[in-house]
């Protein structure tokens, strides 16, 4: 490492729901430094008014996602070295969600859709019953497991151009949750799930752009889950007319 501190040119989007613009900051580069560290450093040392959001700082809570040099990323787990473009960084609020202030978005629409997609367990048993025996190797369980580690960070939602164009579209994460539940042997309302994803904002709007899978920081594949839902709904449609 050289003695003189290297300064990075960091452009940060500032503004709120009514609009905004980029502001530039000079931030000293460090050996170990994430995008979140850069943003925090600016708030703590240069502009006390900068707003952003994080909690766990280890990629578990999914609250720190932002657009970094044009792509959606979890900032707490993105090392600066990985994304630095020459000497430049551009950080903006996550795409496809309303901005509250600066880098913090309103995630409510994302979660409203999660619920709308019936992304909630429909119990078939109660706390007084024994825990269901489930073969972890059964194909349904294996399928359900593939999407289970979603941290609802909304990165896939930000990466999807269909979400951008179609405000009703439930989006990759919510649909992936529906698919997981649909494959869960314990769920009591499979048809309800299929109905929920078959409306005007449902899984059928997905154009298989695959950006969701490319950018998911946990290497999940919502595109695959959505394809599964399309298959299941199509079968149900041919069989039951819905």
């Amino acid at each position: 490492m050289s003695d003189s501190v290297k300064l990075m040119d960091v452009a940060i989007w500032r503004g709120d729901a009514t609009g905004g613009a980029y502001e530039h900051f000079e931030v000293p580069a460090q050996e170990s430094q994430t995008i979140l560290d850069v943003v925090s450093w600016i708030q703590q040392n240069q502009d006390a008014n900068l707003t952003y959001r994080y909690a766990c700082r280890v990629g578990m809570c999914g609250s720190c996602a932002m657009m970094v040099n044009g792509t959606p990323r979890w900032t707490c787990r993105t090392h600066v070295k990985k994304v630095l473009d020459g000497n430049k960084l551009t950080v903006a609020p996550l795409r496809n969600l309303p901005v509250i202030k600066d880098l913090a978005t309103d995630m409510d629409p994302f979660f409203d859709k999660w619920v709308e997609a019936e992304g909630v367990h429909h119990p078939s048993k109660t706390r007084d019953d024994a825990i269901e025996l489930i073969d972890p190797k059964s194909s349904a369980r294996v399928e359900a497991n593939t999407g289970i580690e979603c941290i609802n960070c909304s990165i896939c939602y930000a990466a999807c151009d269909t979400v951008a164009g179609n405000t009703d579209y439930l989006g990759p994460a919510a649909l992936q949750r529906s698919w997981t539940l649909y494959n869960d042997a314990r769920d009591a309302d499979k048809q309800g799930i299929l109905d929920a994803v078959s409306g005007t904002g449902g899984c059928h709007n997905c154009h298989s752009q695959g950006s969701c899978a490319v950018h998911c920081p946990n290497d999940l594949n919502p595109m695959k889950a959505i394809a599964g839902l399309k298959r299941a709904t199509a079968m149900s449609f041919l069989k039951n007319g819905r």
Binding site: D161, T162, G165, G202, N205, T233, F237, R242
Partner: protein, 110 residues
Amino acid sequence: MLDIRLYMLQRLSALFMGPFVLIHIAVMIYAIQGGLSTGEILGRTQGSVTWFLFYAMFVIAVSVHSAIGLRVIVHEFLGLKGFALSTLTWTICVVLLFMGGRAVTAVTML
């Protein structure tokens, strides 16, 4: 702006069209290869019930398929929705059916 019914219509019409498009392309290549003139082509298709059915079905499928396809694009790019969007979808479908119908008639019925 696709629910399950529109989706099924679009996908089924697409599936249905697969063989038609293949044949269509094949005919085009064959025609060119054989150096068939327009007259020759028309000579074969005109008056043929088979070709009439072939192209009629093709036109129906493609009208439905394209109307739905354009509906999606218009919604996503131009933000049109609701009644206006449905009207547009139907209009496209009907116009294509009409124009396609005339074309089929011209090519196969004279």
